[in-house]
């Protein structure tokens, strides 16, 4: 493992499997009456959120606390362009406080990369979503969920067909998932209107389709991305209704899925836009499990970056069983 987790592309296949295996072991903690391990006692994890994201922040907070780390939540809205402290000064402040890991959410693509490489701070940097770039722990929790549901919670995702639908252009979740899932051997297909696909997508390690219907029956998992309504005013598509008709997941499309296939969404959902309420609440939907798995995966990432630089399994076994 690298010192930082900035991009899902930083993870080799063995790194990714190590995170998933570690997460699987740490997940057992959640089933116990006392959901806490002493592993990161005395270590400080800072959640540095320049953008509101209660879901991601509490997930990281729960993960760090279950490992007994001290957690500081630092909500630093505004950046050097608006009023408020610059990224550099914020980083220097955290460094002075002795942060061992900084979990960063930022609206600007590459901000975690800057923190990690500027020399402003010495701790590990974990990207918790940066602009329209990446969200690697989301991809890890998605991979974990896919493995649980489609591969008995073991090994890689070789040959699993994952379809990601929606606003790929602006989605950090899509970028990280394409990188990580392809590393794990899955066959990824992106589905979106041409306006919502980035230039150069044909070079990504995945297939691309403008039509959803032909892809759905051949999918083991369909991941719906949030589509913001303001994309309509920017003429990425004509109307919300047309988007829903062409790219939304409703009961009819869901019925084309094979029996074992699952429906995913990174949240927050726009019910009625990219996914109907019926689908979101159906048995195929694993959306709530994704959230639960997020905590385990983030525990694993914190553990591996801060606790054990060496292969983690024996140590984790020891801890899990010794408590």
């Amino acid at each position: 493992m690298n010192k930082h987790l900035l991009s899902a592309g930083d993870l080799s296949k063995s790194d990714a499997l190590l995170v998933l295996d570690t997460a699987a072991q740490l997940a057992q903690v959640a089933d116990r009456p006392v959901k806490k391990l002493p592993t990161l006692r005395g270590r400080t994890v800072v959640n540095l959120f320049f953008e509101d994201s209660t879901r991601t922040r509490i997930s990281f907070e729960a993960a760090a606390k279950r490992l007994s780390a001290d957690v500081i939540n630092f909500s630093a809205k505004g950046s050097s362009v608006s009023k408020g402290e610059s990224l550099k000064d914020t980083a220097l402040t955290l460094e002075a406080m002795g942060a061992d890991a900084v979990v960063v959410r930022h609206g600007s693509s590459g901000a975690p990369h800057r923190l990690a490489n500027s020399g402003w701070i010495g701790g590990s940097v974990i990207n918790a979503g940066d602009g329209t770039h990446e969200h690697p722990t989301q991809a890890l929790l998605d991979a974990y969920t896919l493995r649980e549901k489609l591969a008995n919670g073991e090994g890689d995702l070789a040959g699993k067909r994952v379809t990601i639908v929606g606003d790929v252009l602006h989605s950090r979740v899509a970028r990280s998932n394409v990188l990580l899932l392809s590393t794990l051997g899955a066959d990824v297909t992106l589905v979106a209107p041409p306006t919502l696909l980035p230039v150069g997508v044909e070079t990504w390690p995945c297939k691309v389709s403008y039509d959803l219907d032909p892809v759905v029956p051949d999918s083991d998992a369909v991941m719906m991305l949030r589509v913001q309504l303001e994309r309509m005013t920017d003429s990425y598509f004509p109307t919300a209704r047309e988007y829903s008709r062409r790219y939304g997941l409703d009961n009819h499309r869901m019925s084309m899925l094979s029996d074992e296939s699952i429906v995913m969404h990174p949240g927050p959902m726009n019910r009625g836009m990219e996914i109907t309420a019926d689908v979101a609440d159906s048995k195929r939907s694993v959306i709530v499990e994704q959230v639960a798995n997020g905590v385990s995966v983030r525990m694993a990432v914190l553990y591996l970056l801060l606790g054990g630089y060496s292969p983690a399994q024996p140590a984790v076994d020891e801890i899990v069983e010794g408590n």
Partner: protein, 433 residues
């Protein structure tokens, strides 16, 4: 004592000669050792190449308004160190150089500083707002004698305003220097649009946004029979369009920056805003097309787009950072690396693209002359075999935002003579006055 003798210099890397300068003019070009050095200041230039002083068509001196980033004095001192004897000061100051008063102020500050000639560029529209033509005639008639007009930083995107400006400047032999950037296609743009922008999640600045404006403008220029200069051409497609326009006899000239001749968008992978510039760094294919265009004369001039910014505007996240990079002190070395050492341009070509043609485009009467008797004595002496390491703290500019930090670059400006007086000796500025 105003006699100066440069001994043993190789003029344009061709014939070696002694150059005798008196009262701001070249008075004699003699065989080596033949010049009378008695009572004169002698500059030993053995092994150095003598070129006419460089003329920059695109410099941001930031004064008035942003003296924290650069002043006319500090910027022109950097220019002298880079071998320039004339710079064109861009209009996007605060206040904007859109009146005779502001351009005369900048011109006078340049005179007072004395490091090189400062030719202000006037804004095309009031406040660079793109809606009302500024008093171009007043700026042309002022002491600053403005001949180039530009809303640089912003594109004159309204076709009617652009047409009118092109027509209007014909009255005083002016030209419009266009920053070609279709605004709607580049809203929020952060870097070249391509495979990399998609991967990095940075909003793309597509080549077509530059090329569409150039295509429109060369046709407008043809239609009203005026003169167009295209600022900082950055794409292979733009080179093709300008080549086509010139083949049709359209009166268009173009410049390329040193950084677009050397650097590519791959540098954005670092998310280091020192590589954030407008127009953005493009692909290797574009770089090669720009070099070829400069070599064959499709692109007329190298222009630095020297754009100083205080460190807080670069020590931040990419999207929050300012666009632009320093260029004056590294221009010659980057041209040597990208054009001379690659065999694309000889030293006569360097003189042509960095002095003679830019002076002609700017209608600068006393610059860009050949190193011949009777010409104004603006001379840059270059050591083609030296190399140096770029250290931001050692630059004369008030800002530090060079993209070449710790990079070793070939070729070095050793001496600069402006108007018969040395401004730079042995790579150090002379105390003026």
């Amino acid at each position: 004592m105003s006699r100066l003798v440069i001994t043993g210099a190789s003029i344009l890397n061709q014939a070696t000669a002694d150059i005798v300068i008196d009262s701001g003019k070249i008075v004699e070009v003699a065989k080596p050792g033949a010049a009378d050095t008695f009572g004169a200041r002698v500059i030993d230039a053995a092994g150095l190449i003598a070129l006419p002083g460089f003329v920059d068509l695109h410099t941001h001196l930031r004064e008035p308004g942003r003296e924290d980033a650069e002043t006319v004095e500090s910027g022109t001192r950097a220019a002298a160190l880079g071998g320039f004897t004339c710079v064109h000061a861009m209009a996007n100051t605060e206040p904007v150089a859109d009146t005779a008063g502001v351009v005369e102020q900048v011109w006078r500050l340049g005179k007072e500083a004395g490091w090189c000639e400062v030719r202000p560029i006037g804004a095309v529209t009031v406040g660079l707002a793109g809606t009302h033509m500024a008093e171009l005639g007043a700026m042309a008639a002022s002491a600053a004698q403005v001949r180039l007009f530009s809303d640089d930083g912003k594109c004159v995107d309204d076709a009617v305003i652009m047409r009118r400006a092109l027509e209007y400047v014909k009255a005083f032999d002016g030209a419009i220097a266009q920053h070609a950037q279709e605004p709607r296609l580049t809203e929020g743009a952060q870097m070249n649009e391509g495979v990399l922008s998609g991967t990095l999640g940075l909003r793309g600045w597509p080549a077509v946004a530059e090329e569409a404006i150039i295509a429109r403008d060369v046709l407008l220029t043809q239609h009203v029979n005026s003169r167009l200069h295209v600022c900082h051409v950055s794409t292979a497609g733009s080179v093709e369009l300008i080549r086509w326009a010139k083949s049709k006899g359209i009166n268009v000239t173009a410049e390329v920056t040193p950084h677009h001749l050397l650097l590519t968008d791959e540098l954005a992978r670092s998310y280091d805003p020192h590589f954030k510039v407008n127009p953005p760094l493009r692909t290797q294919e574009d770089v090669l097309a720009l070099r070829e265009g400069l070599a064959d004369g499709t692109i007329d001039a190298v222009a630095t787009d020297h754009a100083p910014h205080p460190s807080e505007d670069k020590e931040c996240e990419w999207s929050a950072a300012a666009f632009g990079m320093l260029g004056l002190e590294t221009a010659l070395s980057v041209v040597v690396e990208s054009m001379v050492n690659t065999g694309l341009l000889d030293w006569a070509g360097v003189a042509d693209r960095m002095s003679i043609r830019p002076a002609a485009i700017g209608r600068v009467r006393d610059q860009g002359g050949r190193l011949e008797v009777g010409q104004p004595a603006h001379v840059t002496l270059v050591d083609p075999h030296a190399s140096w390491t770029v250290r931001p703290n050692e630059l004369a500019s008030r800002s530090r935002n060079t993209p070449y930090r710790e990079r070793v670059l070939p070729g070095r400006v050793v001496h600069t003579i402006f108007d018969g007086k040395p401004t730079v000796i042995d790579g150090q500025t002379e105390r003026m006055h």
